[in-house]
Amino acid sequence: MLGFFARRLLYLVPVLLAVSLLTFLIASLLPGDLAYTILGDQATPEKVAALRHDMGLDQPIWWRYLSWLGHVLQGDFGRSFRTGQTVLQAVAERLPVSLELMLLAQLGALAIGIPLAIACAVRSGSAFDRFMTGSAFSMLSVPAFLSAILLIYLFAVELRWLPATGYVPFHEDPIGNLRSFLLPALTLALGEWPVLMRVLRSDMIATLQEDYIAMARAKGLKPSRILLVHALKPSSLTLVTVTGINIGRLIGGTVIVESIFALPGIGRLLLSAIFTRDLIILQGVVLIVALGYVLINFIVDMLYAVLDPRIRHGHA
């Protein structure tokens, strides 16, 4: 077991290295650089050259990569030339927002998806099942930028139940914090639940065919108990994986929702870093986001392995 953990953990290192190298290469393809952003209408060739020199952008790319990597390995992710913020400061400010948004969105998606999945699995093949599985997926076709503004009009402008935009830190006002996250989390959840529902539904259908379920039925256990206790748990392995992947992936992938609801999350940080060519921030944040992604996946893998011993023995 320990060996398996170590192997998986070791595997993350080359993945992260590759991500960081890819970020560097891609960033170096972008036209323009931070010197132009800072100089604006004063971007004469001489001034650009001088500023690039000050920022070290005139060094060859491999040298910049290695020196950046060297600093990162010592825990120094660098500091933006434009805002003066360090990468760690910027991430520390924004990561909690992104994480909370993701967790609430996933909770929302699970709250919608699990009951529907159970209902569909029980009556699998019925008209209800076929309708739900079909239409659920096409819920995805309502773009977040449309559903977000519709939710704002409904719940903030018309009903005045929830704030339209903004973020309140949890430690200042826990209730206000939750209220400010409800609409954005709901917007994201609307795009997430169909996936979770389908995964759980199909696993649950398989579980319901197992002998022990038939036995439980024969013993006369209450159907609700069979479903929730005996069937749901063994059926949720894939669900755990997918939820984990989603949380990891969506950190930094929610820029539209963050912009519309004015949440200061990682997505907007990345977007502004790329629009201003603030490469120090870009590289640092991409690496940290990737780290988060692989770590969450790692944890899910481990969870999976603990729950299902077959995985450990090679059926990866």
């Binding site: 595997y11 080359p14 993945v15 991500v19 890819l22 970020t23 891609i26 960033a27 393809l29 972008l30 036209p31 699998s124 093949g125 076929r130 599985t133 079909g134 239409s135 997926f137 096409s138 995805l140 076709s141 309502v142 773009p143 977040a144 930028f145 449309l146 503004i149 519709l150 994201l188 795009g191 997430e192 996936v195 389908r198 995964v199 199909s202 696993d203 259908i205 398989a206 065919q209 894939t238 994986t241 997918v242 989603n246 992936r249 969506l250 930094g252 992938g253 929610t254 820029v255 539209i256 997505g267 990345l270 977007l271 790329i274 870009l282 991409v286 986001v289 990737a290 992604y293 692989v294």
Partner: protein, 290 residues
Amino acid sequence: MATLDLGIDQDVVASPVRRARRLGPLFWIAIGWMTFVFALAAFADLLPLPSPFDMDMLERRAPISAEHWLGTDGLGRDVLSRLIYGARISLIVGLCAPVIGLTIGGALGILAGYFRGRFETLVVGSMDVLLAFPPLILALAVTAYLGQSLVNLTAILGVLGIPAFMRVARATTLTLAQREFVIAAQALGANHMRILLRELLPNVFLPLFAFFLLGVAVTIVVEGALSFLGLGVPPPISSWGIMIGEGRESLEIAPRLAFIPAVTMFLTVLSFNLVGDTLRALTDPRQGAL
């Protein structure tokens, strides 16, 4: 971007073709709608439509009339015409991008699942890199470097879809590779090429194709999201996603500008999904059994 790797390795276990259940009326309605949209998009030039680009700047957001069947948009262009020409972009992107994913991801997945070992580790590792890399950054960087065009947009979405197809193909291959007919072929001395092409490919293809149809649906939606961020096809051509984004700015004055393309997109995605699902049901024993 949130939905690119819906891949979900629920190991789709393919079994050599089972008896088809009744396809049902929904399936045929879906096929009908898809055909209808395809036909309109393909023959748009032959239809007696006003130009989708010509603006009547004094006839903005005009209501539905005999002249403009679905009214005009914020710049006075015929909505019906833009919807039909928009179908071209949405369908081209929606079909071509998953083809890239299907081809590359499918091939990598089959090879990885069959050969295992170092090659598999490498493939799975590179896919993990691709997944861990924020897709938005990739899209922004590529469009900034290569310029914005239909081809580049399709390529980006295609590449982003590769990991999902790879997962589906690999999972299916892993299961199949232990099945009697593959083992039998190996025992009979068939070479790798023959096993891959004659034994594995036909059986992996159906689940992959079912997944492809879902990919089409997802890609059409993601294209809209990218367009909203300014990474879509350059104007004046537009996709449904762009039309929804434009209509969003006058939701209170002319909500139909956002809702007409949204409903069209919804129905199309629904159709692809229904067809994909039905095909999947044919290959997935777990669904058929109860």
